[in-house]
Symmetry: D2
Subunit: 327 residues, 4 copies
């Protein structure tokens, strides 16, 4: 596997939560964030977020920063989640004006991405869903959602639209909830340039085995377009440093990326509430690199043996020797 | 809504768990189970389980019992989960002999169902999945799974094959895990007679809103073929009495069955570990009847208003008045 | 039961999350928040949060507002969670200066509470815990935590200190995690004026049955000092409107408050991300009132019968008739 | 740390679940189980289960087997969960005859343990709890529970009674649910010989960090009496092979056993549904041994540094180098 490492720009900065709205750390300018990313040697690409980083007026400036820091634009994540106006949804909002706004903003971000040398939009419509029972006409709103995605996918066929699923948060229930659900929506659009982003932690939250999610997307049309990496304790999107909780799931995930010839980016998506963002990303990237190497080192015949027999004491013994001991 | 009530035959009997393998109550003969079902006036149909109830040699006897007790055969649930031999899977087993056995048994049960006047197979391949990481070639095994389902679906086009998804148990991870996943598999078979069973509790376990699962299956091809009812505390398939935990989810579920013109059976699937099975089913059916009536009583304009505005204080007030008070 | 209804002042305003740090709605001044609370007829008390509402300089102003709007001060919740400075903890922080600051701020809030006619401090040290494995000397930090609580409890014996437990968030793991854990800490202080706050949703998050938590606190020293009401989907502290998800758990909870002669406040603790805060609180209070009445209406002999037999079909039938139908 | 390895006798055999009541593998006689345990070189002790292994009439035979196979009796786990008669509880049963039976059986098992050279009873009253809301007088039943434990603890002060907590299963809710809850009950008995068993998987199920549970029991009276090892995916007691899922939690757990000078047994408690029980236990023991060594190898100054700073990028880097790479 020839990995390409990236990071969402804001990850090297500070972040807030509902109790500390002002942020757990100092704010950084966009230029400072770029300068921080540039300190991590393995990182060659960066993801930008609409509104937070990309506005109508700063594309030229961003172009300069990308060039100056020798970073590629990996994707733009349009802002369908970060402003009060999206609180009732974006593509699936009840208000047609908001649905139109969601589409329009995405098209702008597609243009910006192309302008910045990119060809990927990572779509995370986190506000599309519902909180309360009896709050939504699920069919109608799912239809709207797919129509919006279809429309933006038809805007430019040379830009890929990658759907990042998440089972909940900020809504108690999301429409774009699981890998299988994302595949249904991608199929519904009928557009070849629509695929799926696996966020490692989101997969865990949906009780998916992340490696199995890679396989599922391979099986149903080679639809894994992008990867976001982090870790958590399964019940919530804690957005912790890669590999800090799930050693074996992380290893199996990177193995399956290799097995399925994934050739996209490996991008950090962490929330460093109490950490220095730069140090957290640096260690996240080091972890990705270490797991990639370890996954690469497993002989294929060993894999085939484990898959053929499925004998768990043997599998556990192999992994123990690999990770913990040579006993 | 014109509901038709049914029950899985074993539900009126006793059951066991891993600690009390001998069962929490006395065993019943098949005839006794029929006689018990017949004591519940609203129930007009029954589901039978392969091996447990249906064998190669007792179809004629079962036919007699169905006629004698004036019960319709709702479905047969082939046995892909209840014997030691399935421990490594059925349709997705690594051993081709087991995969063949899974298909062969299903065909036998299809024949038996037709013989008994039925036209539905409720397929729950609970042993198809994996327990440990690195234990399975997910793509290969998912392929085998879909091939097996496809093959049995082609056996008789006048018998519907309904896939009952469940996110885990008895395996720690199932292949047929969620409503969306079941839809992908149904599509993959290319057979119109393949659809999906929603088990209310399984939907909760996958963090689905059961009413939303009804909507999803409607949207993607009108694929809700069958319903199993019970309740639980979300984290595990506790198989409790209908409505004993989730009042509002249950109400919303029955509303959406009506809204989507579901015309199949409403079938009890409870595990009465410490209850008398007959009394537990009787109350489960009473609950279904009560929720159906209550769902029917909600004026459509009220629903439309809630869906259009999505205003949660208003929705909560309406439901409170409906369920708790007239304050 | 003679209920006294209250609300945390910020609940009638707007709130933010990690994606919309600027807030999902318009900001309100403290006076506006008071004016909004005053529009809910049943509410006679208010809880104030340190820093957010209570500062060194505004106690006199707050006194005027309480008088003007004829509201009692129910409690002050000191700020141990809402500023960047608490990011590594308060009572259990590794830095002794922060531990001292946590104690000092609590004492100030005790003084302010007395000045405002109150006698209850609701302590929610949400930042005390850990995120990563190997990050903490659990014994040392738990010792510090208990010492701090002990110190503030000795400051004024006529003010009650009520510990609000929560299993996680904002840390991935809290020290003050469950009802039983809170009891151990309360015992450790050796102070009679230390008790426990049940937040209904926090109890659900810890897989407690909220009514059982009431019983546990009664059994071990009559230690239920305060109640926060809301609802959620069990897995996370969604802080939804009272009764919007869990009908039966909510009913059972109010029944046990009555059974154990709880005579404290019933206080709303909701987060109205996408709702109008005033309307959400109004409906939350209406729900509390309705559930209190319904709980009061259950004949004691019915309760005793259910507890004595524990027969679930009978219990389910009774609750169905109470809530859904008279079938 | 000088570890002593043990196993629950039935672990090297076969097991069943609610779908395959006849068992997933062949049955073994008690003597065969002993012979299988004896094949694992590191194992020097064995735990026996009441009814399953220990009856009124076979104590002499068991004594012979222990001697012949040179195994120590680690504990007896009385049967309060494995027969139909316990279905409504044991120490907390509504029926006083059952409560008396629970106490009487425990005393018999205490006598048997002493006769067999043991001094530990591992009490797992798994049927004590409730399934449905409004099913129990929680205070009354919790009182009965503590009274029963107190009575058996007074029977012989030279035998330790260790309470194994578990948040659910087989009941949907257990009384002996968490480490903190177990401590409250132990305190309530007023008996020094009552302590707590941590089952690693049960701790995960209650969203405890297992190492933190060790610390909690140390802090509140040095009450960790016994350890059961296995692993799972957090949501359910999957009883998998040690270390097969949670690498870092397992390492931290063994580190804290060492830090708190735990000198009891490390005993396997796995359910080998689809594995050969002997091979699964052998690998579980190998894993324990490997983790003990790795935990021993971490320099104390490294630990102190991590605890003092709590700096997660640094901690993650250290653990990555230890487990995954030397990058």
């Amino acid at each position: 596997m020839k990995p390409k490492y990236a990071v969402i720009l804001s990850n090297v900065g500070s972040c807030s939560d509902r109790f500390v709205a002002d942020g757990y750390g100092p704010p950084y300018t966009i230029e400072e964030l770029f300068a921080r990313v540039a300190q991590i040697p393995q990182v060659t690409g960066v993801e930008l977020v609409g509104t937070w980083h990309v506005t109508e007026s700063n594309v030229a400036e961003l172009k300069g920063l990308l060039e100056h820091y020798e970073l590629q634009l990996v994707s733009i994540i349009p802002d369908h989640f970060g402003q009060m106006k999206w609180k009732h949804g974006s593509f699936a909002a009840k208000d047609p004006a908001m649905r139109n706004a969601a589409v329009a903003h995405t098209k702008e971000m597609i243009d910006a991405a192309v302008e910045l040398g990119g060809n990927l939009i990572s779509l995370w419509p986190g506000q599309d869903g519902y909180d309360y029972l009896f709050q939504a006409d699920y069919i109608q709103e799912r239809d709207w959602f797919a129509e919006g995605v279809k429309e933006v996918s038809r805007y430019r066929s040379d830009v890929r639209i990658s759907l990042e699923y998440k089972i909940k948060e900020p809504r108690t229930h999301s429409y774009l909830s699981t890998a299988a659900n994302a595949l249904l929506i991608a199929q519904e659009t009928g557009s070849d340039n629509v695929g799926v982003t696996i966020d490692f932690g989101h997969a865990l939250n949906a009780y998916e085995t992340p490696a199995d999610s890679v396989a599922l997307l391979k099986k149903y049309g080679n639809k894994l377009f992008h990867v976001h990496m982090n870790d958590n304790y399964r019940h919530w999107d804690d957005d912790m440093i890669v590999g800090s909780v799930h050693t074996i799931e992380t290893l199996e995930f990177f193995y399956w990326l290799k097995r399925t010839q994934y050739d996209g980016w490996l991008s950090i998506d962490q929330y460093p509430y109490r950490e220095d963002g730069l140090e957290a990303v640096r260690e996240g990237v080091n972890a990705m690199e270490a797991f990639v190497k370890l996954a690469d080192s497993i002989p294929e015949e060993q894999i085939e043996r484990m898959f053929r027999h499925g004998n768990s004491p043997e599998i556990t013994a192999y992994l123990r020797k690999l990770l913990v001991s040579s006993i």
